[in-house]
Amino acid sequence: MSLMDFFRRDQKNSAAIAKERLRVLVAHDRLRNNGPDYLPQLQRDILEVIRKYVEIGDDDVVVNLENQGQTSILELNVTLPDQKP
């Protein structure tokens, strides 16, 4: 660590940002490129259904498909907005 680095240290570590962006992106790419063809449509449909009840953004539904031997697990993660009292 040099003296110059010491003063630059408060800036956010850009490699960590790169890694985080890649982690999200690669998971998304893998699903789209290697997953079944119906997944994107499934994701859109689920989004529509939830939106009938709660307002959520496009990124708030994450669909993941994992293959474990003979079985495939469809994992669904929905982030709901903060509850207003």
Binding site: N13, A18, L25, V26, N34
Partner: protein
């Protein structure tokens, strides 16, 4: 039986041709009869990196279309007697490669060679798919940079779904080769580390080639960098090939070089 290794990356400019030339040379140095094929039809460059550009008479497309025999088109390396280069055509386009023709050439090479290195073009289109289709193993060349890592992941997906081995229910053995690595920048948090890239791509690490002046010097001279055994990059390629062949060699050039006191205080 020959082993077919594709050197691929998705993204361009990450070091595929440099790697193909270095790996093929290092295998030949160890006594294996090795052929290296340029699949980048239309933009041939392997001949330049190997320093045989003035000896190209016939090319890969000529052999595929049976305008020339394999022996007429293969160029023997001037430094290593058991190393041969099959150059790409400069005038045709990538669609000139058809699967049947590529298979015929690879089958004929496989009769007498130990290793066949396929230098893939960038992208994921026809040329890149032809280069990887018949591969037994793949060296994925990746820079520690977001677009390169993403493209590598994409090409890994294609290897796992569209290669011959994948179609026949098998797998292509994958090796990660991280190139243009700069330990100083990694330490400063400005560059993805080996560990970061390994975690994201989740394939076994074959080697790490440091960013090195020796690579440009080697391409200027048309001498594969592995011949420059004084250089860090040359040694790193030699280590990677030794590791590929089963030797246990520790990874070097992953840590920052020791700097003088003044440099440490003022940076640079």
């Amino acid at each position: 039986m020959a082993k077919i290794i594709v050197v691929t990356s998705g993204k361009g400019g990450v070091g595929k041709t440099t790697t193909s030339a270095a790996v093929a040379s290092a295998l030949a140095m160890r006594g294996f009869k090795t052929a290296v094929i340029d699949f980048d039809v239309g933009l041939r460059n392997l001949d330049l990196i190997m320093g045989c550009e003035r000896r190209v008479v016939y090319d890969f497309v000529n052999v595929i279309q049976q305008d020339a025999t394999l022996n007429q088109a293969l160029i023997r390396d001037k430094r290593l007697e058991n190393l041969y280069v099959l150059p790409a055509s400069q005038t045709r386009d990538k669609d000139a490669l058809d699967q049947e023709g590529v298979k015929r050439v690879l089958d004929e090479l496989a009769e007498t060679f130990d290793y066949i290195i396929c230098d893939s073009p960038a992208g994921i289109e026809h040329g890149a798919q032809m280069a990887l289709y018949f591969a037994d193993e793949a060296i994925i060349v990746t820079n520690p940079e977001v677009s390169s890592v993403r493209d590598s992941d994409r090409i890994i997906g294609i290897l796992q779904s569209k290669s011959r081995r994948a179609r026949e229910g098998g797998t292509v053995k994958e090796h990660l080769l991280l190139t243009r690595y700069n330990p100083e920048r990694v330490e400063r948090g400005e560059m993805l580390s080996v560990k970061d890239v390994e975690e994201i791509l989740a394939i076994p690490l074959l080697g790490v080639i440091p960013e090195s002046e020796a690579v440009l010097k080697a391409s200027n001279q048309g001498v594969p960098v592995v011949h420059d055994q004084e250089s860090d990059a040359g040694q790193a390629y030699d280590d990677a090939v030794a590791r590929y062949l089963g030797e246990d060699r520790p990874h070097r050039f992953l840590d920052k070089q020791k700097k003088s006191f003044l440099k440490r205080v003022f940076g640079g």
